[in-house]
């Protein structure tokens, strides 16, 4: 098949690679690791790539973010804007806000970079959440992967903080409102709240003394991204060490791994995914407007805009603040203000449960063993029901942060919506959980488990006219890969493999 010239070229290439890799090996002894890395097997079920979507969004966030730092100026000092955007011409604003306006209107390609950065952030966290859901519902967090569950949850929290800090940097009316609420939440912490808020913002009252934006900037472009990168590195290192989980299926066991090799197959595929992520992020960045800070105007404490919402991943916290009843505790000259409960206590408890889930799961199922093959959600109805209930809870809270917009769209008073959603925090999880449980049980009954289902079975009529099944295995553990019909009908098998050599 290959011509003589091609073979000669391949030989020459191999020689050159050999000398380059030898050079490296002489210094680092890298060949063994490199070889195992290139031969590393990745199961390529599509749902395993969602984590990669998050990772590539992060890559784009870093790249566009670095570009943005060249133009952003984190200063709370006041200036008067003079520039191409007429409605802001002559307005007083902070240098931080001015630099974002200049980035949007006076820097070529600045607007698309800014918008792509923001879209990438939304997609980043959406992908993390989806990925986490996949891990949860398939039981991929079980031993030995508890560590990566904990790292992943920390990644989600850090990503949310990173997103919120970035949303706050432009110092526009919308983000200023968000910071005002955050200040009130920090201030609501019993005993130390006032100190904490004063230390973060550099002042006893909001918005502090102007030290805040440089601090926020250092958090957003240094501390938090570095934390994210470190955690991501650890996440990948643990994954690399433990190898990927896989769905049960023909030829798959707890002790083997089925998929494509990193080099070249998976490498090419995963890079294609990176390019698609970039395409969508930059496509949205140029074609769909996001966070038009010039419309919101510079932040000023006395101004407000009606549709005051955070980005979607903070929505559940904002919704919790809307739904929490008007309770405050006051006695002996002290008080625990209202925002403490929905702003700190509830999220704290929720994330404590999420962190502890792998261990709670062990107790529920009395299963302390190691698992490399995944559960199908239907096979663990209780876990699935609890996960769906938690999702319903978060969705209810997230919707609650848009009560005014939903009310406006549907013509329903926000009072009604808030009341409904207050009940919804109890009712929605219960209903969703029960439905999920019943669906799981029905699916279980209605369908044979793939491990028990005959795989690759072929009915053969023998010479005596009887029928029997060929190659039917009833348990993945008993069936070695060769036994299964690994060469689907009609495929050109590499049967000629041995001939080629």
């Amino acid at each position: 098949m290959s011509t003589l010239a091609e073979r000669a070229a391949a030989r020459k290439r191999a020689e050159r690679s050999q000398s380059a890799l030898d050079w490296l090996d002489d210094r680092l002894g890298s060949s063994k690791w490199l070889r195992s890395a290139m031969d590393k097997i990745f199961p390529d079920h599509w749902s395993f790539m969602v984590g990669e979507i998050a990772m590539y969004s992060f890559v784009i966030l870093v790249a566009t973010g670095i570009y943005l730092t060249f133009f952003y100026n984190a200063s709370g000092a006041e200036v008067v804007y003079h520039g191409p955007y007429r409605p802001l011409d002559g307005q007083k604003m902070t240098i931080a806000y001015e630099s974002v306006i200049n980035l949007s209107f006076s820097v070529r390609a600045g607007l698309i970079m800014r918008q792509a950065h923001h879209w990438a952030a939304l997609i980043f966290i959406a992908a993390i959440v989806f990925h986490m859901g996949r891990i949860f519902f398939t039981g991929a967090f079980r031993r030995p992967r508890e560590v990566n569950w904990v790292i992943g949850t920390t990644l989600l929290l850090t990503a949310m903080l990173e997103g919120f800090s970035g949303y706050s940097l432009p110092d526009d009316l919308l983000s200023g409102g968000g910071l005002r609420i955050l200040y009130s939440i920090v201030q609501s912490v019993p005993i130390v709240g006032t100190w904490l808020a004063a230390d973060l913002w550099g002042g006893n009252t909001f918005p502090g003394n102007g030290d805040f934006f440089p601090r926020l900037f250092v958090l957003h472009e240094f501390v938090l991204p570095l934390t994210l990168a470190g955690l991501l590195g650890a996440h990948l290192a643990v994954l690399w060490r433990q190898k990927h989980t896989d769905f049960p299926g023909p030829g798959k066991t707890e002790h083997n791994i089925v998929g494509s090799r990193l080099w070249p197959q998976y490498f090419v595929k995963t890079n294609a995914l990176l390019l698609f992520v970039a395409g969508v992020v930059f496509g949205l960045g140029g074609l769909v407007q996001i966070n038009p800070v010039w419309v919101y105007g510079p932040y000023e404490a006395a101004r407000a805009s009606s549709g005051t919402q955070p980005d979607w991943y903070i929505g559940w916290l904002d919704g919790a603040l809307r739904l929490w009843p008007h309770w405050e505790f006051r006695s002996f000259g002290h008080e625990i203000p209202n925002p403490f409960f929905p702003g700190i206590l509830i999220p704290g408890i929720l994330f404590a449960v999420i962190y502890a889930w792998p261990w709670l799961d062990k107790r529920i199922y009395r299963d302390y063993g190691e698992h490399n093959l995944l559960d199908r959600p239907r096979d663990k109805p209780l876990r699935t029901a609890l996960g769906v209930a938690a999702l319903a809870f978060f969705v209810d809270l997230t919707l609650a942060s848009a009560t005014d917009l939903i009310g406006n769209a549907l013509g329903v008073p926000f009072e009604t919506l808030i009341e409904l959603m207050q009940y919804g925090t109890f009712v929605a999880p219960i209903v969703a959980g029960v439905v999920a449980f019943r669906v799981c049980v029905r699916l279980q009954r209605g369908q044979v488990h793939p491990i028990q289902r005959p795989v690759g079975g072929i009915m053969v009529r023998d010479a005596r006219g009887g029928y029997h099944t060929v190659g039917a295995a009833h348990d993945g553990h008993e069936a070695s890969a060769e036994e299964h019909g690994l060469e689907p009908a009609g495929a050109g098998p590499p049967a000629g493999a041995s001939e080629a050599h």
């Binding site: 879209w119 996001i290 966070n291 006395a302 008073p413």
Partner: protein
């Protein structure tokens, strides 16, 4: 529709079905996204609201009176003295013009909340009715606010002529809390809908501020001077007629539609891509 069909046109002529299947996946990602983006683009439809500043035709109070008697009298009473609906002898021309030109009046039933519609009357008819109602006020010696004259803001700030940027500042301090910074509206307590300003004319914006169509508060000349009101109206006009620099405005409701697009569309397309790249197992 199966993704394969999206790209079938590509290969219909020369390629075998197998070949079509072969190219379908990746082409589908591109195709699907292009289609989705196009739909987004098409759905945006930048609101092009221009104020027709043509000189009003000569008004005829008699025609206005006849129209009033035919369409308004049953609720607002003969001569505007009021009936099941409020009196009109003191409301002034601004109120009459606002309610008629935005199609809020006439109402089918006095129990309805007036909402914007296509005007029931023609421009000339509205002018006639407005003149009649204004005349009623003059007759009683208590004319309400007249139709505010709206002039475009000045490029340079001069005495008595605010700029677009002053318009934005005044808008953000006085209007944005209900109508949203982008003018797309919102909601008050008890289910009162705050209408979008993005299809209102500058005159209607100024009239509404002066009149205060309840539950909206009113802004008298002591709160906002005529020049300031003019600047606000001009800014609203600018907001709703200038194309969004960043692309599609997606309803101009801020982070909620943005989150929807990011999570459902952005992640959605990428999940389709992952599904086409990875195995379906």
């Amino acid at each position: 529709m199966k993704p394969g069909q999206w790209s079938s046109w590509l290969s219909r002529a020369r390629l075998s079905p197998e070949r079509r299947r072969l190219l379908a996946g990746p082409t589908a990602v591109v195709g699907l996204s292009v289609v989705a983006f196009s739909v987004l683009l098409w759905a945006s439809g930048a609101p092009a609201q221009t104020q027709a500043a043509s000189a009003p035709p000569a008004v005829d109070i008699a025609v206005g009176e006849a129209l009033y008697n035919a369409h308004c009298e049953s609720c607002h009473g003969a001569g505007g003295v009021g009936g099941v609906a409020p009196q009109l002898v003191q409301v002034g021309a601004a109120a009459a013009d606002f309610y008629l030109s935005t199609g809020r009046m006439p109402l089918d039933s006095v129990h309805d909340q007036p909402t914007p519609h296509t005007p029931y009357f023609s421009k000339a008819q509205i002018a006639d009715i407005v003149a009649y109602i204004n005349a009623l006020g003059v007759e009683h010696g208590t004319p309400g606010p007249g139709i505010p004259s709206v002039t475009p803001a000045c490029a340079e700030a001069t005495a008595g002529c605010p700029t677009l940027s002053q318009g934005q500042q005044l808008y953000l301090m006085n209007c944005a809390q209900c109508h949203d910074a982008s003018g797309s509206g919102g909601e008050l307590s008890h289910g009162y809908v705050v209408p979008s300003l993005r299809s209102a004319t500058p005159t209607q914006v100024a009239e509404a501020a002066r009149v205060g169509p309840r539950p909206m508060p009113s802004f008298g000349p002591g709160q906002l001077s005529n020049e300031q009101l003019s600047a606000i109206a001009d800014y609203v006009h600018y907001l709703s007629t200038t194309p969004d620099p960043g692309g599609l405005g997606i309803a101009h409701f801020g982070p909620v539609p943005e989150g929807f697009v990011g999570v459902i569309f952005g992640l959605g397309v990428l999940l389709v891509a992952a599904r086409l790249i990875g195995n379906r197992g």
